[in-house]
């Protein structure tokens, strides 16, 4: 097994110096009515976990009870925080039948052209997954290169030392209330380790793994890309995910070692009843690079701001994101970059579309530490308003603590220009085709970063979303 150094110290340093997190929260101690240590023990016991993990969960529960919901967050009052156990307790007796799946989701499966066979498993109905076979063959191929790709529960058992050293060090439970909740009740997810110098030449897709009941709600993803290695990981799938439980508080922790490169793509399309309060973060060592590709389409409320901590000299981060907020949706998304070392670079390219009363918010931070000289950062935010019932806000912060920097930030907001539509119509396109073409062009920077089948599905999704208003 490859030597994995102890992480705690530098994570502590980063927390202290960069996030300044320790006194961030006003503690409003409130013992939760629903979520008790007994329930946590029950969850842990069912998974047959080592004691350290049980202790970790219990400590996270305590932190969860201490922290408040951030005051700047979108309205999540419909989420019964005081009775969080509703969302958390494993429902072993829960049986979802195909008939319970909302029609809009079934429709979308059909319109996206997803094979009938996959409908049920995507919807979380089937216990077994048809792609299991695919998954196993992928697994063997990777094993041959020394890559570890397994589910988190197995990883805690089989690779206990590595997991213990890394688990929630990148995103500590103290980060915010839902990170703490995650630490207490996490379940499912993936663990990937790519050894030094290994370049995984096919994208790994969490899509291929079987979904245990209840998983996919508090799933934990932990990826380590060792020195000089490369990985493209694709999370989720563009078909809508349906769950009767409407809270998703997942956590993604990525470790990119010296000279390594990780590309992490997500097309997120939760069903429209979902509160998606997800935390994603990557620590990048010297000359390493992280590339985030992020498409947010679904959910009722999303709060998602993938963070890159550029810890080593020459580290880089690239974020490309599209958010599409339709009727009844409040999607608060963005990116965070902490430049913690010299000669680091970052790019943020965020696009959003708001229509039919949807709210799209870009929220971000680029922070440049005093020692991070010769830093370069380029931020660009573009918002498209499809009508005047919708709302679109851009809330970026630039925090610069030294002078050897080159920072450029641009943002634009507006609607599709009438002149652009007229121009395309003179070339024979109908008005709705012209609009769709402009919107597709708007999200092209994301689409071109995705594997073909995902790009096609994303275009289909946009077409479906636009049909609603344009007819």
């Amino acid at each position: 097994m490859v030597e994995l150094e102890r992480q705690d110290n530098y994570i502590d340093d980063i927390n202290r110096e960069l996030y300044d997190i320790r006194d961030e929260f006003s503690y409003s101690y409130k013992a939760d009515k629903g979520l008790t240590p007994e329930i946590i023990r029950e969850i842990s016991g069912k998974k047959n976990e080592p004691k350290w993990m049980l202790d970790f969960r219990l400590k996270s529960l305590q932190i969860y009870n201490e922290l408040d919901v951030p005051p700047w967050s979108p309205d999540i009052s419909d989420l019964d925080i005081d009775n969080i156990v509703t969302y958390v307790k494993p429902k072993t007796d829960m049986k979802i039948s195909w008939d319970d799946i909302p029609d809009e989701i079934k429709d979308t499966f059909v319109r996206l052209g997803i094979p009938q066979a996959e409908h049920e498993s995507l919807a979380g109905v089937g216990a077994q997954y048809d792609s299991e076979v695919v998954y196993h063959s992928v697994r063997q191929y990777l094993l041959d290169q020394g890559v570890i790709y397994t589910d988190m529960e197995s990883a805690v058992r089989d690779y206990g030392d590595i997991i213990k050293k890394h688990f929630m060090t990148c995103v500590p439970p103290r980060d915010h209330k839902f990170a703490a909740l995650h630490g207490a009740v996490w379940s499912g997810g993936s663990f990937v380790y790519v050894p030094k110098g290994v370049k995984v030449d096919i994208p790994l897709q969490s899509y291929f793994r079987s979904n245990a009941p209840g998983a996919g709600q508090f799933e934990h993803t932990l990826i380590i890309v060792d020195e000089g290695a490369f990985l493209h990981f694709i999370e989720g799938c563009s078909a809508p995910k349906y769950s009767v439980n409407n809270l998703h508080a997942g956590c993604v922790e990525l470790f990119v070692r010296e000279g390594a490169r990780l590309r992490y793509s997500t097309i997120e399309n939760w069903s429209k009843n979902m509160y998606n309060l997800n935390t994603k973060r990557c620590i990048v060592e010297k000359n390493g690079s992280i590339e985030w590709i992020s498409g947010s389409f679904g959910s009722r409320v999303s709060m998602l701001y993938p963070m890159s901590v550029l810890k080593g000299e020459g580290a880089s981060s690239e974020f490309t994101g599209v958010t599409f907020a339709g009727n009844g949706q409040y999607l608060d998304t963005g990116a965070k970059v902490i430049h913690g070392a010299p000669y680091t670079t970052s790019t943020i390219n965020a696009k959003s579309i708001a229509k039919d009363g949807g709210v799209a918010v870009y929220r971000g931070i680029v922070k440049i530490a005093p020692r991070a000289h010769h830093t370069k950062s380029t931020i660009s935010c573009d918002s498209l308003m499809m009508d005047n019932n919708s709302r679109s806000d851009t809330i970026p912060v630039l925090d610069i603590r030294n002078d050897e920097v080159d920072i450029g930030h641009e943002a634009k907001i507006g609607r599709i220009s009438d002149e652009a539509i007229f121009y395309l119509m003179t070339r024979g396109l109908s008005e709705s085709d012209a609009r769709a073409m402009i919107v597709r062009g708007f999200v092209e920077p994301i689409a071109k970063e995705l594997p073909l089948e995902y790009a096609v599905e994303m275009n289909n999704l946009i077409r479906l979303e636009l049909e609603g208003s344009i007819g």
Binding site: Y19, D20, I21, E24, F25, P70, P71, W72, R363, I365, K367, P370, H373, S383, M385, M386, D387, N388, S390, R391, S392, D393, T394, I395, P396, V397, L398, D399, I400, R401, N402, D403, E404, V405, D406, I407, G408, H409, E410, A411, K412, I413, G414, R415
Partner: protein, 371 residues
């Protein structure tokens, strides 16, 4: 007791750990409401306008006061605005009748000293339909005085009126400066601000402009940070009416341990269709120890609008600095030249020209000394 922990609150809050949602000041500041015994009205044009030095008792009879009292929610903080409304020791009440164009600027100047260390000014400027006026307010402080300034200026520009307010702040490094500004810009009216924030130990200023149909407002500002001073600048353009236009343009320079937070917001409210707003900030960073925080917000509830902002920050071009030094300028002199070059567009807008010299002197004074 005036609370100083929630100043210049961001129009919409964001992540708490960034500490940009509000400014907290922990310095001991003497807010005693003592009189200001010096003259402050320096040049008053003759003609058909009403000018009264504050406190002025006739104000409450004016029907306009109701509009103003209803316009809450502006300023550095509610406490500071309330304090100036109640305990002001100076200020101007100016009313320009309909159609009158006042060609000469009205000039107000304060120079607090150890006998008169406190300036609490309350200004109200009402420009009736199609009138025009320029008001210049300059505040400096005597070298050895620890002065406190807390001001409130309200501008009401009625239909088609044009008001220009020039504010220059060059207080010394042991003084504190708070300034709250509100402009109600009527339909087709225009209110422009030219703001030079050059001095004081800590400064927190707030400009809120509410734009009706066809209204315009433009803010041009320069700021300078040196030593361990802190500047907190907040500008808010609220587009309420359709076809309204706004711009916020900031040019800054920071050196030593100086820090600055710039919050600029363009808010397109429902009904503000066909409006346009733009915002830009360019900061020159002279030293590794500076802190520069920018929070440029775009808030939008209308689709047929155009909003944009652009921010750039960077180290002063070392080649330029070197070039100037090779021509015999000291590093400080070279910094002055580069800062003035960056500020020149704004400085050019300032008049009378005598003020330009005062501003250049302040910039030289603050950039020449030290390393």
């Amino acid at each position: 007791m005036i609370k100083l922990n929630e100043l210049n609150t961001l129009p919409v809050p964001t992540f708490r750990w960034l500490r940009v949602n509000e400014l907290a000041i922990d310095d001991e500041i003497d807010f005693e409401a003592r009189p200001y015994g010096k003259d402050f009205l320096q040049m008053a044009p003759q003609g058909e306008l009403i000018q009264r030095q504050m406190p002025y008792n006739g104000l409450t009879d004016r029907p306009i006061m109701k509009d103003l009292m209803d316009s809450a929610g502006f300023g550095v903080s509610e406490d500071l605005v309330g304090f100036a409304d109640t305990f002001h020791n100076s200020g101007m009440y100016i009313e320009i009748p309909r159609g009158i164009k006042v060609t000469e600027p009205i000039m107000v100047g304060y120079k607090p000293d150890s006998d008169n260390p406190t300036v609490i000014d309350n200004n109200l400027i009402i420009a009736h339909e199609h009138s025009e006026v320029t008001i210049v307010m300059d505040i400096a402080s005597s070298a050895n005085a620890s002065a406190v300034h807390n001001g409130v200026t309200r501008v009401v520009a009625k239909e088609g009126a044009m008001v220009t307010v020039i504010k220059i702040q060059r207080m010394n490094d042991s003084s504190f400066h708070f300034d709250s500004n509100l402009a109600l810009v009527g339909s087709g009216a225009r209110v422009d601000y030219i703001v030079a924030e050059l001095g004081s130990k800590k400064a927190a200023v707030n400009y809120t402009c509410r734009l009706s149909e066809g209204a315009q407002s433009h803010i041009n500002t320069i700021y300078l940070g040196n030593g361990d001073r802190h500047l907190d600048l907040s500008f808010l353009m609220e587009h309420q009416g359709r076809r309204s236009t706004s711009s916020i343009e900031a040019r800054g320079a920071l050196r030593d341990m100086a820090s600055k937070t710039f919050k600029g917001t363009i808010d397109f409210k429902k009904g503000a269709d066909k409006s346009e707003g733009s915002e830009s900030e360019h900061v020159l960073l002279f030293d590794r120890t500076v802190k520069s925080i920018s929070v440029p917000l775009l808030l939008c509830s209308e689709d047929d609008v155009k909003g944009q902002h652009a921010i750039s920050s960077g180290k002063v071009d070392q080649d330029k600095l070197f070039y100037l030094m090779s021509r015999g300028f000291s590093r400080g002199e070279a910094m002055v030249l580069l800062a003035e070059a960056s500020f020149s567009d704004v400085i050019d807008k300032i008049y009378p020209k005598s003020l330009e010299d005062l501003i250049r002197a302040e910039i030289s004074g603050r950039l020449l000394h030290g390393n």
